[in-house]
């Protein structure tokens, strides 16, 4: 018990260190550059304490729960030897985690408002909603597809460079033909898809698969799933933009 408390304290200290840069940056800009007093300092201190505590719990739970379950499932699938089930699981994991992703919902809503004010879609709530939902489902489908391709790559041992570079070529080509108002949103949608819970799970899945399959190196083959998940949404969202315009 005493020992566990000590571990927790150490983790807490680590979280404080992680947060220190943000505090310094905000304090410097607020006092030195903008020269404004800090508004509701009490709230901010409470908020910071919550962030530190939250980060500590998160990392603690990560090593206890998320990493082990990701790896044990990868091993179970590898032992079972059913590729179609593994790929179904990969698609569900990618699609399911992205469709509910709060930052994607936020960005899609923002994009719909901007598109409506720019006259791309009609300025009604329904059309905004359908645009935002369309965007969300496009991105979620793209991420599901990406995880499937990424898992196939691990199984087959394809080198990652060619796939990613090929993807870049597709992005560049699509950029030339896609309408210009979708490009910024499309490029951004690659970054927002991978959430705080998806990343550890997907990483553990990749590393677990690569360690369970003979002849695969977890370092070379295990990483890279997230790279796919941030590339395919760009392509799919540009297609979406071309379809609705």
């Amino acid at each position: 018990m005493h020992n566990q408390f000590f571990v927790f304290l150490k983790a807490l200290l680590g979280s404080c260190k992680d947060l220190l840069p943000i505090i310094l940056v905000i304090a410097f800009f607020q006092f030195a550059v903008l020269q404004q007093p800090m508004p509701n300092i009490g709230d901010i201190l409470i908020g910071l304490a919550l962030v530190v505590l939250g980060l500590t719990f998160f990392i603690y739970g990560l090593e206890m729960g998320l990493f082990p379950i990701g790896e044990s499932m990868a091993q179970a699938f590898a032992k079972k030897g059913s590729i179609s089930w593994l790929l179904t699981f990969s698609f569900c994991l990618g699609f399911g985690t992205t469709v509910a992703e709060p930052s994607l919902i936020a960005v899609a809503k923002e994009a719909a408002i901007v598109a409506a004010s720019g006259g791309i879609i009609s300025d009604t709530i329904e059309s905004q909603l359908s645009y935002a939902n369309g965007l969300r489902f496009t991105v979620a489908f793209a991420v599901g597809f990406a995880i499937v391709v990424g898992v196939l790559r691990i199984l087959r041992g394809w080198p990652i460079q060619y796939l990613i570079l090929g993807g870049y070529v597709v992005v560049v080509l699509m950029t030339m033909i896609a309408p210009s108002w979708i490009i910024g949103i499309a490029y951004d949608s690659g970054g927002v898809t991978t959430s705080t819970i998806t990343v550890p799970l997907v990483t553990a899945l990749g590393v677990g698969l690569a360690s369970a399959i003979k002849g695969r190196n977890p370092m070379i083959d295990g990483f890279g799933l997230i790279a796919f998940a941030s590339l395919t949404p760009m392509v799919f969202v540009m297609i979406y933009g071309m379809v609705i315009s």
Partner: protein, 278 residues
């Protein structure tokens, strides 16, 4: 007391967000794999810790960092601050926004250091590489990449260049680096692009971009406001590969030095021998 209720609401939202993931895992575990989860108690507690941690983290961000960060982004981009109250009739100049670039870089760096998903990947990478990749160095390189990316992205919004020139140039750099950097780091570097931008960075950076695009004359939030996140997910790839190349070059130089010293020693010995033999 209010705080406690707010915490409960955030916790409920987090649980709802995680529900699809949880049901997929449980569904496949029970219906397809059909084996009990190993260490089920520990994993369950781990999940609960993750949920509580994430809820606390989000609530804290909502309370402290987001309002302040957004306010600062607005203040720094507002014409009143940029031109210090002077009447501006001439066109804007990109150097007027120096503080914005510095803020962008600083906030990009510091939020990336605190990004939970990056911490997760860095821990895993250190673990898998057997300590050859140090998790802190990896996080710092990614953070430097994000800092450069967001600063450059803000500059682009100010001058109004089309985004794809920058992104495509970045891709070309990535392609060239891929051929020269150590093979082991490539997949991890590609991954680090995607993990940088989640919980902390996205809301702050989006606020900065939209603030910039809506206050600068001649920029439309539609075309110029987005795109900062794309910068933030491209430059870490370059930064991580550069970090690997630097480490390798350093190791290489150290090896060479050692070798040179050895050769020198052998040469000297041979010389001495030659001297002794008449």
């Amino acid at each position: 007391m209010d705080l406690f209720f707010e915490f409960l609401t955030t916790l409920k939202n987090t649980v709802v967000d995680v529900l699809p993931i949880l049901s997929i895992i449980l569904g496949f575990q029970l219906l397809v794999i059909r084996k009990p989860i190993p260490h089920v108690k520990q994993v369950g507690f781990g999940f609960i810790y993750v949920l509580i941690g994430l809820a606390l983290f989000l609530l804290g961000l909502e309370k402290a960092l987001f309002p302040l960060g957004k306010l600062m982004a607005e203040q720094l981009t507002s014409p009143g601050f940029i031109h210090a109250g002077e009447e501006v009739l001439t066109a804007i100049h990109w150097t007027d926004y120096t503080w914005v670039y510095i803020f962008a870089a600083a906030i990009g760096f510091s939020t990336t250091i605190a990004e939970p998903s990056l911490i997760a990947v860095a821990l895993k990478a250190e673990d898998v590489s057997g300590g050859a990749i140090n998790s802190n160095s990896l996080r710092i390189s990614v953070a430097i990449g994000v800092a450069i990316g967001i600063a450059l992205g803000s500059y682009r919004i100010v001058v109004g260049h089309p985004i794809h020139y920058y992104i495509i140039t970045g891709y070309v750099v990535v392609v060239i680096q891929t051929f020269f950097c150590p093979k082991l780091i490539v997949p991890l570097a590609y991954d680090s692009g995607g993990v940088t931008t989640s919980t902390v960075t996205v809301p702050l950076v989006a606020a900065l971009g939209l603030g910039l695009a809506s206050t600068i004359p001649g920029r439309s939030p539609l075309i110029d406001g987005f795109g900062l996140i794309a910068f933030a997910s491209l430059f870490p790839i370059i930064a991580v590969m550069a970090y690997a190349q630097l480490t390798e070059a350093k190791a290489h130089r150290a090896d060479k030095k050692l070798e040179k010293r050895k050769i020198d020693k052998i040469n000297k010995r041979n010389l001495n021998k030659n001297d002794k033999t008449p």
